[in-house]
Amino acid sequence: MKQNRSLFLLLWVPFLTFFIMFTLPLLYGVWLSFFDRRGLFVGLANYFQVFSDDRFWNSIGFTVRYALIVTVTMTILSLLISVSINQITLGQGVVKSTMLIPWAISLTAWGLVGRIIFSQQFGVINWTLLRLGLIESRLPWLSSGGYARLAVYLSRILKDVWFGVLLFLVARQSIPREYYEEAIVSGANPLQTFRMITVPLLGNTAVYVGTILLIFALQEFDMVYALTAGGPGSATNTAAVSIYRHGVLFGNYEYGTALATVWSMFISVLVVLIFVPVQMKGVRR
């Protein structure tokens, strides 16, 4: 009896706060998506509209592409950077401190400073590339679709790659030194050591870093909203920006909730296929 009361307070109260604040409204949103603006039941009409909405599918396509590109790049890059930082003897402490700075800056502020850094006429990137003779005229970083997408990828990677570096660095430094001494004794070259010892032993970390970065990347709203607001046109519209625009800015609640439902179903599939198997590993042992 007492055990039950404790369990209610400790487990079910926190569970219910989240469930009532978030999960129930989400289900209510699914319900709302079957009605139109005047509250008339329209069945799947909103969904038919969603399925013929090319802009929304483009935004889902962009989000998935964006999430995969930044996650894969950041995971590989952060592994390589962390191995190099591990070699640094002088100034490693300084690097470890400064690495947290981009991570700690809000994506919003990061996007805003990106606007001026990537600016076509006044940006430091174009100016530097021009001076180095790498380009002949200023690139339209934020005003042409292709370049804007590249700018979005680059900004995100430069901000969050350090998060991965840090995790890999800590994991790398927890590998026993003897393994590496052994490798030197048996005559392995640095590349072999990296391939045969570092990579396999950091495998778990890589999976963890990869999934957490993927979860965050699929959420992408803040930085894109501050940097390009989804533009030019809808070239860098992520799913989140799309849903926000329809629901909050244009006031199409019902249509917006239909979009949100489709997007949550999509993520739920990923949860079953990727996130649950990866995350449950830590609990079952």
Binding site: L10, I85, L100, I105, A109, V113, I116, F122, F163, Q279
Partner: protein, 277 residues
């Protein structure tokens, strides 16, 4: 020192300087832009250091005195501090019970947690809006504290779980023999023993909530208005006031950078907890 180690030290220092430079550059650039007059920002040839004849703190004056920025900042700090506290209490208690009690449907709860921490927050925005606006909760501190408080529950109970699983049972039994209830054991035995972990998680949650744009943009407009949406509103009809925007951004970042540098060790351990376990 042999020649080889000398070379290694020099290469290290250069490498460290390059990496530190890359990581600090955006912050530095914000500072440079914020100390220029608006007209000088729009210069095809960027200034690497604000020249003496152009140097001005006008942008800071504009942001801090000419707007209600302090109020927005106060709102942000207040809401995020209380929200984080709520999150941590709820998440700690949930992970403790999952780790140390026999819970029916435990695996189901785990699935629910993973599902909730993976779903993008944007899918909740519209229905929450629909539910809270008739209740008169829009644009209130209470709503924001609940949003930031409850939204952290799945992820942070998940982060705390491995530590809770490893918590020695003997220490709990001592409390149980004394007849202490679950919540008391949690408050008087577990929490003090896990102070470091909980500090780390508190900082992580604080930084993530403080840096969130989506909730604050969707649910605060005036009374409870928070800082990041206010930054985005600076653009005006005649153009984008970059210097003011950067000044505001920098002011908003300063508390977080201070926190990060002061508690660096805690934050690193909070971030890496699950990987090395």
């Amino acid at each position: 020192m042999t020649r080889r180690t000398w070379f290694h030290q020099a290469a290290s220092a250069v490498g460290a300087a390059i990496i530190a430079g890359i990581t600090i550059f955006p912050l530095y650039w914000m500072l440079v832009i914020s100390l220029l007059p608006e007209s000088a920002v729009l210069n095809p040839r960027p200034y690497w250091i604000p020249p003496r004849d152009l140097f001005t703190v006008q942008a800071y004056v504009g942001v801090l005195i000419g707007s209600r920025f302090f109020m927005y900042m106060f709102n942000s700090v207040l809401i995020v501090t209380l929200g984080t506290t709520v999150s941590l209490i709820l998440a700690t208690s949930m992970s403790f019970s999952l780790a140390k009690y026999r819970v029916r449907g435990r695996t189901g709860v785990f699935y629910f947690i993973i599902w909730s921490l993976s779903l993008p927050w944007v899918v909740y925005i519209l229905p929450i809006f629909e539910v809270v606006s008739p209740l008169g909760l829009l644009d209130t501190h209470l709503l924001m504290i609940m949003l930031y408080g409850f939204s952290g529950v799945p992820m942070f109970s998940w982060f705390a779980l491995p530590y809770m699983i490893d918590f020695p049972d003997d220490m709990l039994d001592a409390g149980r023999i004394d007849g202490a209830s679950g919540p008391r054991i949690l408050a008087q035995i577990v929490t003090p023993a896990m102070k470091n972990v909980l500090t780390a998680l508190f900082l992580l949650r604080f930084i993530w909530a403080y840096n969130d744009l989506l909730f604050s943009l969707s649910f605060t407009f005036d009374r409870a208005k928070m800082m990041l949406p206010a930054l985005l509103e600076l653009p005006e009809l005649y153009g984008i006031p970059y210097a003011r925007m950067m000044a505001g951004a920098l002011v908003s970042i300063v508390p977080i950078i201070a926190l990060v540098l002061a508690f660096q060790r805690n934050i690193v351990s909070g971030l890496t907890g699950r990987t090395i376990k």
